[in-house]
Every structure is written in C-alpha cells, then in structure tokens.
Subunit: 159 residues, 6 copies
C-alpha cells in the first residue's frame, strides 16, 4: 500500500519530519507532496520547500518528494495511494482532520490515518515557527538545522 | 413560536437543507435569512442565494425566505422569532455556537437550539464545497442538484 | 410535533427545569419521562422524581410527566414523539449527546435537538448537586425550593 | 512492520471490523488481541470473543487473533509490533487515545496510529450495542450477523 | 513573583478586567502589556488602549500598564516575569492556550497560568464586542463604561 | 493570598509535584490537602499519602500538607484560601475543571487557577500509574523515587 502526506511545508518542521519517519515504514512508497495553493502567499516557493524536505528526509529509501496541486484526494488517486497521512496535535486539530478525512473518503474513497504528535512537538506548526522567527525568537528546537538556515536566509531577504 | 435560521448560504448545502427540513415542523413560521455581510465577498449575491433556497425548500408551507442584515438577534426580535436554529457538526462547532447563543441571549433574550448534523453530512460546509468545486472535485453528493448548476455556472463565469 | 425529554431527574435541577421551559413552547406536547434504570441505585424513587417534577412544572399546559423504561428511542416512537430534547453544557457533553443522537436516529429515525445550558447553569447536574448536598453544601441556587426540601428529607433518612 | 489492535471486543462491532479491514493492509502481520481484564466482568469470555472475531475476519491472510493480558505496550514488544492501532470516534475519544499513545510510547517506545471512525459507525461501541440489545433494541446495523447471533444467545442465557 | 498579562486589548472588555482583578493579588507586580502587532489593523491605537486600561484598572496598586512588542516570552524575560496570565473561555480556547503555553516554556522557560472565564463573561471577546457595536448592538454589558464611550467615539469617526 | 491544591494523591505523581512547584511561589501559603473520600477505596491511606507528599515537597518553605474532607470550597474558606489550584492535561480535563471552578465559585466565591500540564507529563495520572504498576510496568518516569518505593511495597502486600 502507498501513502500520501500532503501539506504546504512552508517550512518543514520537526513535527513534519517526525510524521514522515513514523509513517514511512508502513508503506511501500510514502509520497510527500508539497501542495501549491495559489490563494495563499508563502515565504518559501514550492521548489524551495521540496529542497528543504530533500535535505531532511532525502535518504529515506521509500519516501518520494513531489509537488502537487488541486485536491489531495484526486492526487492520491493518481498516485495510487489509498491512505492519507496526517499529524494531529490536539482535539481541535482532530475535529478539523476528521472532517477532511470524511470528505476525502466521500470524494474518492481514499482513507486517512492520524498520527498523534509526539509530546515534545505538540505545539509546533510551520506558521507559529515562522511567526516566532520573524519576531526574533530562537526556533532551532523546532526545525532541522538545514531548515533553520533557509529561514534565516529568507528573513534577511525580507528586510 | 417562530424560528430563525440565519446564515450566508453561499451556497446552500445538503447540510442546510437538512436543518431546515428537521426544524421547520417545530415552528409556526421558520424564517430562513440570507445575511448580507459587507466585509466579505461571496461567489453568490444575496438574491441568487435566496433563489437557490427557493428552488430547494420553496414548497415548504411554513418556511419564509428573507434577506437580512445587521445583528441576527435584532433581526429575530423584529421578526418575532424567539428561537434561533443552528446546525452543529462537531465539538469545535459547538464551542463557537455556544458563545454565539450566550451572546444572542445576553443581547436580546433570544434563545438558540442546536441540531447535530446527520452523520453523512457532518463534514459538509459551504466553504469546503466551494473550495472542492473550484479545484475540480465532484460535489454532487453535498448540494442539491439546482445548487450544483448554480455553482457550475458561477465557476465558468469566474474563469 | 411532540417532543420527549427523558432522563433520570434524580433530582430535577434548575438546569432541567430551564430545558423544559425553553423547549415546551415548540411542541404540541412535551413529554418529560423519568426513566427507570434497574442497574443503578438512586436516592429518589421514580414516583418521587415525578412528584418533584409535578411540583416544578405541573402547571405548564402542554407538559406531560410520565414514567418510562427501556430504550428512549422506542419510548419516543410509542408516544408519537419525533424529537428528543437534550441539554448540553460543554463540548464533552456535546460529544456524548452527538453519539446518542446518531444512535437514536439509526435505531428508530427519531431526531434530537440540543439546548445549550444557560451560562449560570452550565455547571449544574443532578449528581454534582447531590454530592454537594451530602457533603453539607448549600445547593439552594441549583434546584427549585421544593426539590431542596425533598433532598433534605432524603438525606436525613439516609443518616 | 507489524501492528497490534488490542481491545476487549465484547462483542466485536462493525466499528472494530472496519478498523481491522482498513489497517491490515499496512502491516506484514496485524495482531488482534482480545485483552483479559480481571477487574471487569464481560458478557462474553475471551475465547468466545476470539471465536466471534474468527468468524468475522478469520479469512484475512495477515490478521492473527490472539488472547492477551497485562500491558498492551509490553504485549506489543513481545509480539514485535512497533505500531498500535486504535479507532477514534470524536474529540473526547481523541483526548483519551492521545494520553494512552503518549504513555505507551513512554513505557516501551511503541507508536500508535489512529483511524477516525467511518461516519456511519461513529456512534457504535461494544458497551452501547450491548446496552441497546439488553433493552430490546435491534442492533443488527451495528454488528456482523454472526455476532448478532452470539448476543441473542448470551442474552437468552442471562434471563 | 511577577506576572504578565499580554494581549491586544482593542478594546479592553469586562473579561479582561476580570482576569486582571483576579490575578493581580497573586503577584508582586502584574504587568499588563498592550502588544503592538504590525500585521493587523486595530480600531484603537496602542496608546488609546493603554488609556482605556488606565481608566479601568489604573488604581490597582500592583498593576503596571505597558506597551509591548515582539515575542511575549521575551518580553516576560525582560520584565522579570516568570508567569504569563491568560483567560480561557472554552475547550477550543484551551487547546490554543495550551500550545502557546508549551511554546513559551520551550522558548524561554516562562510559565503560564490559565483563569477560566466567569460564567457570565464566557462569550465576551474584543472582536465580538466590536462587531456587535458596529452592527448597532448594545455592548454596555460587556465593557466598562469608559470603554463604551471610546467605542462610540471611534465608531462615529469611522462613519 | 493563600492557595489550596486539593486531591486524592493516591499516589502523588510527578504531575502533582510539578503543579506544587510551579504554583507555590505565587502564594503566601500553598495548602496541599489530601482529601478523604469515604465512597472510594484507595491503595494508600490518607496518612500514607501525606507521608509521600512530605518526602517529595516537605522542604518547600510555604507548602503546608494537610488532610481534608468534605467540600473543597468549604475547606478553602476555613483555611483562608481564595484560590484553588488545579492541573489540566487536555480539553476533556478542561471541561471538567471548568464546571468544578464554576461550582466552587457559586458555592463560596472561591476562585480557581489552572496550570496546563508540562508536555512530558500530560499523560500521567495517579490511576493510570497505579494500573500500569499493577500490570508490571515500569512507572519510574512518572513518580518520585520515594513514591515508587511506596507503590512497590503496597503492591507486594496486595498479592
């Protein structure tokens, strides 16, 4: 069975990496898809996000990094993935992911598994990490070292 | 007793229609109010939303479709409605609706009843349906056929 | 349409009375059923619970107090009630009531409406009121005066 | 990777069967363990529960039914299972399963994946099914036919 | 020990004042910080928000009103505050505040205490109060009188 | 201001100790009350629970260990404590503690502050720790060493 972990990964965090490491062994191939969302602006381009993921999990033999767009459930069908992978941090996240899981099953029959975040990572999200970094906080505990470098470079450019 | 089900209905979904069908029999008149919200932009104009509702529930004898604006609780007072009707899909929805119910009671003494969404509709919302349709997904399970036609026409115009 | 508000009411609290007062006007007849539960022991017998309810809401013209047993959904069918009435105090309550509503609909097609507890009553339950009274606390804010008398008499007998 | 789905399964429901069918394809072997809990009394003996599971999922090639006792995390270690499988029905379930997942990881490094219940099964639990059956309700929608027979036989004996 | 209650306070509500009154006695000094957030536009300038707070709690001997910016946890460190103070209104609020508390502890070792909102104030927030006032609703129950005057003046200017 | 942290503490866990260490500095005196509950049976007697707490936090200058009974809010009044202290681990805990806080305020005007559990302790409770220990699990990560000794001695006696 193949799995699909789709997200914006702008940037990838230790939370994302943890989900990839924990779920990859259950699948023949785990696709990790950087989804383009034309309605939002992100600090990192899709290709830079794939570069960051490559630097973090590129050596995992059965993980394939791709760029995606459109509906996640349709992408899953195209890739032959029967299972979506999602991390969940608390009951509010759960309520959201439950609705998405039900919708993706209704749309295409694609299933969803949820991995509860590790305790030490349950407060980490891309948006919060970026917000902290932009305000001068030290986010080195929450992202891989290579991502930290990308963040610092991107924030210097922004100024 | 009269009831008021107010919302943006952009577009009406099977979830909305279900709430109307289930709650109408409890009231002398159930007002369904399409609320104008000048701060948001919607795919459908208020009058087109009323048209869609008319096509879906226009034959129900005690349902009156109206256009509203301003505070829901003040509208309820003007209409002689003592009870607001709201659908709830999960505990996050509940927390939001509870605060609104407490506020509407504090403002005008108007009460609120909550109908839990039917299991098969608990992931359906106007915004998610539109997002899926815009990304090319098939939303025919989630909206009445007439609404589906309106969505398809509106999306063609958008392109 | 008829409604059914079923519970153990051991004893009725201001929370229960509030739900009855708010929901009765929506129904032709609102049945309030004291459910016997042979697996639990209660401080008050079913008939004493009906007496207390009678003293509190007996003058409401369309409220009928009855004693019930077995499945609530089957009782609703027998009584010609299409709608169950339940109070909800917080998101944990909601999660429980949602499951019960889904189950009662699956069993007999009976519907459920939820009334969010008034803010001043959102911490009140029969079991907590009894526990406080047994420990010597003053529960006069949480139950009607007649119920308070029943509690005091029952606790004296218990000693 | 091997998985472990441990529970009391007294009796197995359509919810349990659904979790087994959805998770088995992700594992080399999925162990389904009927856990003995000496502190509780169950309507069905552990061996009858295994019989029921055998009748429901016995033909799945990589599912192994076993009887277990003690700590689930230690059982997982003994069986060489790195991943526990759990179904989740709502946010209250999630809060409970999150604590158990964190505890099992802290105890033995064993991981947990959560499968959100299918919409049509989100209100089904062994205890609720039994309670309904004992009160004369029709539970044929919620358990496999063979389990229904076991329930009816067991309830006749009880009388 | 010093405490820090940071927020946007645009405008201060009875909910905020209640949190200040309840938490101030636990601290040597309770700092109340009006945080500037350059990414958002507010009806009231930071200095006007401090003025409003001054009018409401200026006589409390150990409360110090300040203007802040950047990360709350770094501000707490600079001020010698070991404890952040936050109000919580329901379980959704809790989930958000828990993540923030974990993040602030991870960033700087600063702790967080949560005060559950008083029942009569559990639906009150600055944004909801402003929205109601802008739609012509009477918010005099939810803000101090002096804040009400500021709101009315600001809304007149807006027109 | 004095605080009161009341509970059964059977046994004290690292979660309890953490709450005491974090809250004590905010109070003149923090009372930690081992509450007797005649309706439940506990592995440890109230005096043994006080002994364990003494061994863990006995050196804290402003912490006073006492045995309590009856209503927590009445005990708080007698002790001159205006603030109850409670730990909260997730949104389900929050819902429970919110109701208790509202009730204690309604009964005696006593206030409650909530400390969110540290991430590494958010799954720890007395009952779960005891259950794990009884099933042969290693609970040394979740309780102080002295408590571990008490648990081992008590479990040997039980056999």
């Amino acid at each position: 069975m193949n799995g699909l972990f789709a997200g914006s990964f702008s940037p990838p965090t230790n939370g994302h990496i943890d989900i990839i490491l924990r779920s990859a062994p259950m699948f023949e191939t785990l696709y990790v898809a950087v989804m383009a969302n034309p309605d939002k602006t992100y600090l990192f381009s899709p290709s830079e996000r794939i570069d960051m993921l490559q630097e973090c999990v590129g050596t995992l033999p059965n993980v394939r990094l791709i760029q995606g767009s459109g509906l996640t459930s349709i992408l899953a069908q195209k890739l032959g993935c029967h299972m979506l992978v999602r991390g969940v941090r608390d009951s509010s996240d759960y309520d959201y992911e439950k609705k998405m899981a039900d919708m993706n099953f209704a749309l295409c029959g694609v299933d969803t598994l949820l991995l509860p975040a590790r305790q030490s990572l349950s407060q980490v999200s891309s948006s919060l990490v970026l917000e902290i970094a932009q305000l001068g906080g030290d986010v080195s505990k929450f992202v891989p070292e290579t991502v930290l470098n990308h963040i610092q470079t991107a924030l210097k450019k922004e100024c």
